[in-house]
Every structure is written in structure tokens, then in C-alpha cells.
């Protein structure tokens, strides 16, 4: 009790201006999103004047003039995100096992750098480099080139949660499995993977969101005629903002929030199991 009272004096909540600064930050962060969400239900064609509640722009997204275009873009986005997340998660898992369980090997820090630096490289540089690379090797730009690019830039994002979880798993589980006659594959399949699964799922969801959300790289290497949702929205906005864009954006936002919450919930239930077993 005493310690609590003492620490309260240094509580960050009691700093002058704390509430004000917090409110301003939250406002700048969320007001635009809020505006988009509210105005997606606007009955009027104007994007600034409120004309009453309506779902017409949501209907428009699915049945309007541009519905066919959006449907194709959504399908491209989702299928690419699903495949890119799956493949990059598999590759990131292999990389994490090599890095975390491989002991000391020559070029270990270099490998770690190579895996994680892409996160810090400006996206525009990666985009230009990929465009140049694809045209040098003569790859036709389109669905395939987008998929390859997404797999590649998703790997470091999938890698981080997987490696973090793997570092927390004692290697004695794998040794016990091997001791009990499991070969390498069975050790992975029956022991390591189930324990690592929450990390792999976080990696997968993160990669999925990153892929779904990507605009810059995709825009460079998509080629003509193939669109993902972000590039389609960008294309539409260039011709003036119609309220149906807001409806579409709101749908994407909801989907992302859903995925992130899912990943959070999985992470939480899992941690509660961990703390129990760590007690002994």
C-alpha cells in the first residue's frame, strides 16, 4: 500500500498538461478516421455536408457502377495477402528456427541484419529497386509480380513475432521429443509447432495486414490493368472523392481492426497459459 502511494506521486498522469496533450494527440490520430466513418453513412453526395443517415454508399460499393472494379481489386488483395502471408510465414519460421536454434554460425549477425533491415529501408527505395529488378529479368508485371514482391517484404514482419516466441521456448522440449524417438520433422510437427503456433499466427496476421495495406510497392510493380484495393482506391480518388470511397475505406478499416483484435486475443489467452506453466 505504501509503495503504491509513493509511486503515485510520480505518476505520469499527474504531470501538468498530461490530459490536454493526450487529447490533442488522440484527436489528430482518430478524428480523420472518425470523419471518414461518419460520412460513409451520409445520404448526400457531398463529402462535407451531412444529409442524413443512409447506407446507400455501402450498397453502391457492392452494386454500383464501379462495383465490378472493386470486387476484382478486393479479390486480388485478399488472395495475394493470403498467399503472401502463408508463404512468408513458412519462410520466416524456417529462418527463425535457423537463427534461434542454429547455435553460433559464421555470418549469424549478418543474416539477422539481412532479415530485418528491409523493415527500415524506405519503401519507395524497395519499390524502385523491385521495379528495376523485375524489368531487368524480364518478368511481366501483373498479379505474379505483386505476389512475389508481397511475399518478400512480408518475411521480416512475419519473422519478428515468430523469432520472439521461439526465443522464449526452452530447447528442452525439442530435446525431449528427440529423446522419445521423434525425428527432426516429427519434432517440429508434434512438439515445436504447436508450442510456436501463437507466434506463427501473429506473424501470419501481421504479414496479412501488411500485404493487404501495401500501396507504394504495389503501385510501382502492378503493371497495367491489375489493381489491389489500395491502388484502386487511389485511382478513384484521383478523379475526385466520392462518398463510396469512404464506405470502402470503412470496410477495410473494420476488417483490419478485426484481424488485429484476433491476433491480440490469441496472444493474450496464450500468455495466461504460459504464466501458469512458468510458475513451477
Amino acid at each position: 500500500m505504501d509503495r503504491y502511494a509513493y509511486s503515485k506521486r510520480f505518476d505520469v498522469k499527474r504531470y501538468p498538461g498530461f490530459l490536454l496533450i493526450t487529447m490533442v494527440c488522440l484527436l489528430i490520430l482518430y478524428a480523420p478516421l472518425l470523419v471518414v466513418m461518419v460520412y460513409s453513412f451520409n445520404d448526400s453526395l457531398s463529402i462535407t455536408k451531412w444529409g442524413g443517415f443512409s447506407l446507400r454508399w455501402y450498397v453502391d460499393v457492392f452494386t454500383g457502377l464501379e462495383a465490378e472494379k472493386y470486387k476484382r481489386a478486393a479479390w486480388n488483395s485478399l488472395s495475394i495477402a493470403l498467399m503472401a502471408a502463408t508463404v512468408s510465414t513458412a519462410m520466416a519460421t524456417a529462418a527463425a528456427i535457423g537463427m534461434v536454434r542454429g547455435g553460433q554460425f559464421k555470418g549469424k549477425s549478418l543474416s539477422f541484419g539481412l532479415i530485418s533491415i528491409p523493415i527500415m529501408v524506405p519503401e519507395i527505395v524497395t519499390a524502385v529497386a523491385m521495379l528495376i529488378f523485375f524489368s531487368t529479368i524480364g518478368l511481366t508485371l501483373g498479379y505474379g509480380s505483386i505476389l512475389i514482391a508481397h511475399i518478400v517484404f512480408c518475411i521480416p514482419f512475419a519473422y519478428l513475432p515468430i523469432a520472439a516466441r521461439l526465443q522464449g521456448i526452452e530447447s528442452s522440449y525439442e530435446e525431449a521429443a528427440q529423446d522419445l524417438y521423434a525425428n527432426r520433422w516429427k519434432t517440429f510437427r508434434f512438439v515445436l509447432m504447436p508450442i510456436l503456433f501463437p507466434g506463427m499466427l501473429s506473424g501470419f496476421l501481421l504479414a496479412f495486414i501488411i500485404s493487404l495495406d501495401d500501396f507504394i510497392i504495389t503501385n510501382f510493380i502492378k503493371g497495367a490493368g491489375v489493381e489491389t484495393l489500395p491502388t484502386a482506391i487511389f485511382g478513384a480518388v484521383k478523379q475526385g472523392i466520392k462518398p463510396n470511397i469512404m464506405a470502402l475505406s470503412t470496410l477495410m478499416l473494420l476488417f483490419s481492426v478485426l484481424m488485429v483484435s484476433l491476433s491480440y486475443i490469441i496472444g493474450r489467452t496464450d500468455r495466461s497459459v504460459d504464466s501458469k506453466s512458468n510458475k513451477d
Partner: protein
């Protein structure tokens, strides 16, 4: 060397981690159906040796044979030995029954066979009510039983146990000692048991290898290592002992006459290792007059008597007495800086004690004084 009776043969095994030498060369045999204990202080290389037998570490030099078969090229999953890990390493996502059946599943047993064996093992370790619980929902003692059942289910030829009792409280530890020992006897599986607890080693083992700093100091039955320690390390590590600096003045058949630093002379036997496959032990038979060393006297083999004019025994002044329930422990000062500990059982007959500060004589039980070179 009898190959049939030898479960595990360690031959000139060395282990280096970089520049660090963890095992500096050891050779010995572990017999079939034996409860063999590796005893030594922390960091002496017990786990390392166990991991080399299991296959998690390779040997830097030397060979390990299992029933005559070299293990060198076998991966851990190909070796018919199982391990009870110090941390148990129970699979957290599987329930007790699944954990116990894992090895059988990997060996390709049929569902029915697995179920039967698992039930049998659950019965053996008395975990009926817990078959469907996850490891996190078990107490430390119950987890320990699951680990034991899991390792024994595939009927390994040799079971390796790395300090399996160290996480348990004293009561449970003592109970598990008896259970483990009984389990070893009924199953006939060779146990290699690692511990740094000498009491555990003495009570459970058929034979003990006392290790220190990557070397085997002595191998013998509990009685042998306690009563006939091969060197100073063993004498001090197992049980309590009094060590007094001494010089050999005369060598007889199988004993020596020594002069203690305090001036008295004493008859002592020399350390002889009786086990046939002893190793790393300096032969002590060739002790010559003038050799320096220590005399080891166990506290319970000394008794306090009144000074008699005829005797030439050890004399000293009686110091503090400490009541320990079954025993009383006395300090007897031979000189200003040599003090011996004497233990005496508390019984009705020997209740008349000399007073503090009185000069007393210490009589040494026949053959109890041992000369240890070095």
C-alpha cells in the same frame, strides 16, 4: 570386460567446449540392471556426460558403447535410452496420457498397444485422476512422475535421470527416493542418476561415481566411497570428516604409521580402490616413508575416553558440545589450531561425560584412520 553385463561403457571420453575442458577423460563401465549414480559438485560435468550418452552433445574424443554397440553415429532419436530432464520438459500442449504415449507414438506402436501401455504406466506412477490434465495443472511432484512415466513407457535399455528430485521439497524427495529405487528394481532398467546430493547418492545407488572438475575421483558402492575414500576430495565431499596433516614415517604391509602435525603418531590404512574398473585414481599402494598427506577420521568413529596412563592415543582438551538429538557433537582440540569433531550417540550408558576443558583421550575405531596422499 564382460560385454553382456556391461550396459554402458565409457571409453576415454573427453569433452571440450571451445577452450574449456568439461570432461578431461574418463573410462568406466556401467553394469546392466544397475542403479548407477554420478555424484559431484555443480559444474563438474555430470549433465554433460549424460547429454553425451543421450546424444545431445558429441564427444570430443573417446567412445561410448551401449551393450557393445558404439553410439557415435546414432542421433538421439535412434538411441534406445530415455531421459528424465531436470526441468521435466513435459510437452505443455499435451495432457498427461498424451505425454506418456508420445515415445510409443513415435515408435509406431498401434493405438491399442499405446493405450494399454499408457494405462499401465499411469497406474505405476499413480496418476489415475490426472490422465487428462495438462502439465501446467499438476504439482511439481506429479509432473515429476509424468516425466518418469514418459521416459519409461518405451522400455528403454537405459534410463538417464538428471537431478530429477531437485525441484521437490524434502518430504517428497525422500519419498520419491524409495519409489525410484523400487521402480528400478522391479523394471530391471539400468538407471544412470545424476545428483549433487550425497545423501541421495548413498541411499539409492548400487554404485556411485564421484566426480570433480571433469574427472572421476572414485567409483564404488556407497559403503566403499564412504568408508574407503580414495582421496581427499572424496573424503570431504561424502559425509563429514576430520582431515589432519600428516607425514608417513613407516610403511607396513597394508598400513602406515603417520606423524600428525600435532606431534602424535597414529596407525592408518592407506586408500585402496577395490572396484575393478576404477579410473582416474592415483594408485596409493606405492606410498613411501616421508610422504606428505592427510589423515581422515570420521567423527562417528572417534570416541571420547578418560585419559589412561598406558595408552599412546590422541589426547586433547574437550571443547564445545552440541546436542543434535540422536547424537551429540563435540569439539576436541588436539592443539591450538587442530580441532577434531567427534560424534557420540546419545544413549543411557554413555551419559557420564567429561567436563568442558578437561583433557580427554580419543580412541579411534579399528581401521578407521585413513591416510590420503596429497
Amino acid at each position: 570386460m564382460d560385454e553382456i553385463n556391461t550396459a554402458i561403457s565409457i571409453r576415454d571420453v573427453k569433452k571440450r567446449f571451445g577452450d574449456f575442458i568439461a570432461i578431461s577423460g574418463m573410462s568406466f563401465n556401467i553394469r546392466d540392471n544397475e542403479f548407477f549414480t554420478l555424484l559431484g559438485p555443480s559444474g563438474c560435468g555430470k549433465t554433460t556426460l549424460l547429454r553425451m550418452i543421450a546424444g545431445f552433445e558429441n564427444t570430443s574424443a573417446g567412445e561410448i558403447h551401449l551393450y557393445g554397440q558404439p553410439l557415435e553415429n546414432l542421433t538421439p532419436n535412434e538411441r534406445p535410452v530415455n531421459t528424465v530432464f531436470q526441468s521435466y520438459a513435459l510437452f505443455p500442449h499435451m495432457n498427461v496420457a498424451k505425454n506418456i504415449g508420445f515415445g510409443l507414438h513415435m515408435l509406431g506402436w498401434s493405438k491399442a498397444e499405446i493405450q494399454e501401455r499408457v494405462e499401465q504406466m499411469i497406474k505405476t506412477v499413480e496418476l489415475h485422476e490426472f490422465a487428462h490434465r495438462k502439465p501446467a495443472q499438476l504439482s511439481g511432484g506429479q509432473q515429476q512422475r509424468v516425466a518418469l512415466a514418459r521416459a519409461m513407457a518405451p522400455k528403454p535399455k537405459v534410463l538417464l535421470l538428471d537431478e530429477p528430485l531437485s525441484a521437490l521439497d524434502l518430504k517428497l524427495r525422500q519419498q520419491m527416493r524409495a519409489e525410484l529405487k523400487a521402480l528400478q528394481k522391479t523394471t530391471g532398467i539400468t538407471f544412470i542418476f545424476v545428483t549433487h546430493d550425497q545423501e541421495e547418492a548413498l541411499t539409492m545407488s548400487d554404485r556411485i561415481a564421484v566426480m570433480s572438475a571433469g574427472e572421476v575421483q572414485q567409483i564404488g558402492t556407497p559403503t566403499e566411497v564412504y568408508e574407503q575414500p580414495a582421496n581427499r576430495f572424496v573424503a570431504e565431499f561424502i559425509g563429514k570428516t576430520n582431515l589432519i596433516e600428516a607425514t608417513v614415517t613407516e610403511v607396513q604391509n597394508d598400513s602406515v604409521v603417520c606423524k600428525l602435525v600435532t606431534g602424535q603418531t597414529i596407525n592408518a590404512v592407506t586408500a585402496q580402490n577395490h572396484s575393478e574398473d576404477s579410473s582416474g585414481v592415483s594408485p596409493s599402494a606405492n606410498i613411501i616413508a616421508g610422504a606428505q598427506g592427510h589423515i581422515s577420521l570420521r567423527p562417528e568413529q572417534l570416541s571420547i575416553t578418560e585419559v589412561s596412563s598406558s595408552s599412546s592415543g590422541l589426547q586433547g582438551t574437550l571443547g564445545e558440545a552440541m546436542y543434535l538429538g540422536t547424537d551429540t557433537q563435540f569439539d576436541v582440540n588436539l592443539s591450538d589450531n587442530v580441532c577434531l569433531t567427534v560424534r557420540r550417540q546419545n544413549s543411557v550408558e554413555n551419559s557420564n561425560l567429561p567436563e568442558f576443558g578437561e583433557v580427554v583421550e580419543l580412541s579411534v575405531a579399528q581401521g578407521a584412520a585413513r591416510f590420503l596422499a596429497g
